[in-house]
């Protein structure tokens, strides 16, 4: 019996002018899996995530969630089950930390009172290791690592079924990077969420991933379990994982 993948990309293509960033990405992610997309800068990792969310409209191909093709008409209902941690945090700097985390609770038909929303936000902040004192600060008053944690708390605030992590450890020191890696892994496991992460950081890959997809020249060059990334004979993976200057991936792109 085959199970329906949680996320399925089929032949997704996107060009910006003459630059064909995605040339037919095929990728499936099963329920509860943590898939990490790796690849060099400018290979379309972020564009792939943005296509799934709807921030970028693909030129060709289909994206399906739970077997249902995502269209402009039904995208809003899919977004309700998404959470995303952005590379720079993307926290709203005009509102307090707890209001960032409780953003969804404060708006819309199912909104909570401010007292209830704050309590939920404080609970999520505690889950990422931040105390209540942080809740009333503004994002600009936090360090980079703390902003990442607040972004993580916001991403998991509504217990989403799918979470995207865009370069979760970029710009962090090695200790803080490992803290974030562990948090991501723990949260994905305990929530049973399906996760997609994009990163250059091989340490993150080994800590976060169940499966790994290597994106290069607009297509998935290799996809497999994280345990096989060191043993695969795929030349792209071999070069990328070992950081070799020579191979099929040009050092200067």
């Amino acid at each position: 019996m085959t199970t329906t993948p949680k996320i399925a990309l089929t032949g997704v293509a996107k060009a910006f002018g003459p630059n064909r960033v995605l040339r037919g990405v095929n990728l499936t992610v099963n329920q509860g899996q943590s898939v990490v997309i790796i690849g060099g800068s400018g290979t379309g990792k972020s564009v792939t995530l943005k296509c799934i969310i709807g921030l970028v409209e693909p030129d060709a191909g289909t994206i399906a969630i739970d077997g249902q093709t995502v269209t402009r008409a039904n995208r809003a209902e899919f977004l309700d089950q998404f959470g995303m941690l952005f590379q720079g945090g993307a926290l709203f700097d005009s509102i307090r930390v707890w209001e960032n985390v409780a953003f969804r609770f404060l708006r819309g038909a199912d909104r909570l009172t401010r007292v209830e929303a704050r309590a939920r936000a404080v609970e999520k902040l505690a889950r990422v290791g931040l105390g209540e004192a942080v809740a009333d600060l503004f994002p600009a008053e936090l360090s980079g690592g703390m902003q990442k944690r607040v972004g993580l708390a916001r991403a998991i605030a509504t217990d989403p079924k799918i979470i995207f992590f865009d370069e979760p450890t970029t710009g962090l020191d090695p200790i803080m990077a490992d803290v974030i890696n562990d948090l991501v892994r723990e949260i994905v496991t305990e929530m049973g969420a399906t996760a997609m992460t994009i990163t250059h950081d091989m340490r993150s890959v080994r800590r976060i991933a169940d499966r790994v997809a290597m994106l290069h020249e607009g297509i998935v060059q290799w996809e497999g379990p994280v345990a096989e990334i060191d043993s695969t004979a795929n030349p792209y993976m071999h070069q990328f994982v070992n950081g070799l200057p020579t191979g099929p991936i040009a050092a200067i792109r």
């Binding site: 943005k50 921030l55 977004l79 995303m84 993307a90 819309g108």
Partner: protein
Amino acid sequence: MPVVSAISGLLAGTGAAVIGLCRGTGALVLFAVAAVSHIFRPRWYPGEFGRQLLRIGYDSLPVVGLTALFTGGALALQIYAGGSRFNAEAVVPSIVAIGMVRELGPVLCGLMVAGRVGASIAAEIGSMRVTEQIDALTTLSTNPMKFLVAPRVLAATLTLPVLTAVSDVIGIMGGYLVGTGRLGIGPENYIRNTVDFLTAGDVTSSLAKGAVFGFIIAVVGCYQGYNSARGAQGVAQATRGAVVTASILILAANYLLTEVFFSA
């Protein structure tokens, strides 16, 4: 051959500029239509709308008031200086009133708010674009057009007429202070002349101009910020574009509205 090449280069450059202008105009119009459509369709964000009313309206009162006060005073001096050549000093109150209410009140209010609010809207939304905060809104099931653009456009369209009215009144008051304090016009005479010469049509046109200018300022500011290029330079360009474009459109719209309201 070099001449042919130079001419073809000139034509190509001109053509590219025209195409760029048409494309930009079309994109701005489509953005404005989308903004208006989101004002009338749920979901609405009253808290955000209230914040924008205060930021655009209340916070602009000092700059609009001071601009009008000094302009009204200067206008009174100029009209007196010009009118005295024809023994027509008595026209100062009526011309100040008509000049302020029909033209200077709404136009100066619009230009000052374009500088203050239009730039601020473009810089804020541009920064949000650059730091992925607009993308984050989408992932939080919040349509940025509804959350960021619609409240600002509605708030500016509703508050600019009020600011224009304030500008008109304070401008007339500036003329009154100069007229009665420096030019020897009696206070009662000044007020009577002002009231007698102003018509309901003058006031209506002033408020209508204010609403149009408010719409222009917010739509242009939001459009520039929303489409800001990456980096600090992108935000700077968006901010500059918001002020320059809104100012030119305000002056052009003012001419058209004056034609509509006052041409014989």
